[in-house]
Symmetry: C2
Subunit: 339 residues, 2 copies
DNA sequence: AAAATTTAGTCAATCGTTTGCGCAAGTTTA
DNA sequence: TAAACTTGCGCAAACGATTGACTAAATTTT
């Protein structure tokens, strides 16, 4: 029932003014040593902790940052948030958290709640549905900096940390080539999202470099549902010259693809080599893991994104902030993992 | 750059006092209809949102609740937090989030940060390491109610939502019995944690009910690491009469157990039926899913836990709060799922 | 010894919002 | 028509912490 102690309580007990207490706790030089120590001792004794809500008034900082992810049930994001959280904690920031569940409406609702709570900054991975950006651009008005993580916005002059999969895709195809595969198929994600475009660019580049022509029959598309992936697989397996390697958009698509392949009697990873992105932990337990997978280091990316955001916040505070210098774009290289 | 509008700004523009604006926005009866509407219209126009940090001063509520989970990478918790979040949002609460990573030190650190941010309440699933409770009991002093979720504290008079696995375990064993299995082994988790005790109680009850004596050779223990599970399996398979069914502490243990069994040439789910708890989504993709699994409905439990917490907060606010009435213990029944 | 400077502290305003109290009109009751 | 309410609104304090301006005492300088 005893309340959280305040600066006033300390002042009362020591018979000094609140300003003296405040200055003593902030180690202001104008406070005498004895007074300062008496105050600091009592503060320690009472377990005094400053009230961030009160400080917010004066300093206009809450030391709270918003984090919006599509859904933590996905392995990539659950690892990402650990990195995000660790860095935030280290720097004394706390996290307001919400999931968009890949709905733009939910994304807006969560964001609104966070703005109302007066977050200092936002770290977000966009929902798949997000194709309008007013709600995010509006943050500029409120002076809330944004760093995009993995699913980044398509405009410049904002903070971004992501993993360019273009080069990684090229590496993956080079490796499949070395295994003697030539009919390398690709089940890509929805055309609209940036992740699909990157992968496609890498695919085309790699195939072209081999001086082969890109056979568009080898490229299918899935809406990431099991059904969508099944349809894509159906088309690929029914080709008169079916593929000898299949790259899936991610490990979840891979699982659905392999499920169908097994159903159709394909000798998985022999007749057809399967490759994928993301490297979910469950891979080591699945019946047919991809032969090669492209790790995107979500924990590391999460750390970097939060570090970037905190940098920006610190610069804003110290007045050394400038759009041009502070908004970085970090491309984390992806890495092949052989299973 | 335009700042977030305040009540003052509205007062200035309409040439009334701030108190009038405040009352108008809160629909106070002493404000005239015309004035009230003019204020409400302008507020809508300016997109006014009250500043929760300021309200906190007067009302001592932040509309922020803390949520601490061991780690969202676990399927159970990632589903749980969705339920938690959905209910919180519905009631206008925002979530401060942190993971303990199953470390009591991290749990304390995260909790401290949340208390400093003045959360209204806490929803927590304890870390595996947590065997002392001072940091949680201290919340009482600060008048912060706690609801425990799944990994609950061992004392009474606090809110708890969890899934009693005792009955579920009994059901599971009954079912295995019906399949003709008699040598039903059990790989339990660490003795200290409540979850292990419950499962064990259910195991003993079920076996006893069948008028069989409990053979302690059939009960092994794992620290939940792959290595620990491997050792447990080794002992079970080396028995002169090895088991014809194995129940694992959860699906992760199951995966490790099955991996070892396959390695030893066991005909999984024929020679030995495998059963487990938790029902992770990845099950449908794994090579050897448990034949039967006990679902604990994490999303539903998450919802119920947050509903309980918000109830308590509302009661505190309205003064109708009383320890005895408000702290509930909800046992969600588990359900068998056949794969 | 008077003037100037340093030292150690207090006062009061401020941030955004709520709320008890007061006050001046207008309206009803006796 | 005076007394008693009612209606509609403003004043000012309060919440916790910070900070520029100020003051009184102690110390140094001339």
């Amino acid at each position: 029932m005893s309340d959280i102690p305040t600066i006033k309580e300390i002042a009362r007990q020591l018979n000094v003014s609140v300003s003296t207490v405040s200055r003593a706790l902030n180690d202001h030089p104008r406070i005498g040593l004895k007074t300062k120590q008496a105050i600091q001792n009592l503060a320690r004794e009472l377990n005094y902790e400053p009230n961030p809500k009160a400080i917010f008034f004066k300093q206009k900082r809450s030391f709270v940052v918003g984090v919006i992810l599509p859904l933590v049930a996905e392995d990539f994001f659950s690892k990402g948030i650990s990195g995000i959280e660790d860095v935030a904690m280290q720097h004394g920031y706390t996290i307001l958290f919400g999931q968009s569940h890949d709905s733009i409406e939910k994304e807006k609702a969560v964001l609104k709640a966070m703005v109302n709570q007066r977050i200092d900054g936002l770290l977000i991975s966009l929902s798949k549905e997000t194709n309008r950006y007013e709600h995010l651009l509006a943050l500029d008005k409120y002076n809330i900096p944004v760093v995009y993580f993995d699913r980044v916005a398509p405009f410049e002059n904002v903070g971004k940390v992501f993993c360019s999969l273009e080069k990684g895709t090229t590496q993956m195809i080079d490796w499949l080539f070395k295994q003697g595969r030539r009919r390398i198929a690709f089940i890509n994600g929805p055309d609209e999202i940036a992740a699909s475009k990157e992968r496609m660019a890498g695919y085309i580049e790699a195939i072209s470099k081999k001086r082969l022509k890109v056979d568009m029959q080898m490229v299918e598309r899935t809406d990431l549902s099991e059904e969508g992936t099944r349809e894509a697989m159906e088309k690929l397996l029914n080709l008169k010259k079916p593929p000898d390697a299949i790259i899936s958009f991610n490990d979840y698509v891979h699982l659905d693809a392999v499920k169908y392949a097994v159903h159709k009697g394909v000798n998985v990873n022999e007749d057809i080599l399967f490759a994928s992105y993301a490297n979910i932990s469950a891979n080591k337990y699945t019946a047919y893991p991809p032969v090669v997978s492209l790790d995107q280091f979500p924990y590391k990316q999460g750390r970097m994104a939060m570090e970037m955001l905190i940098d920006i916040l610190d610069q804003k505070q110290s007045g050394t902030y400038s759009d041009a210098l502070s908004f970085n774009k970090i491309e984390v290289p992806a890495m092949l993992v052989y299973n």
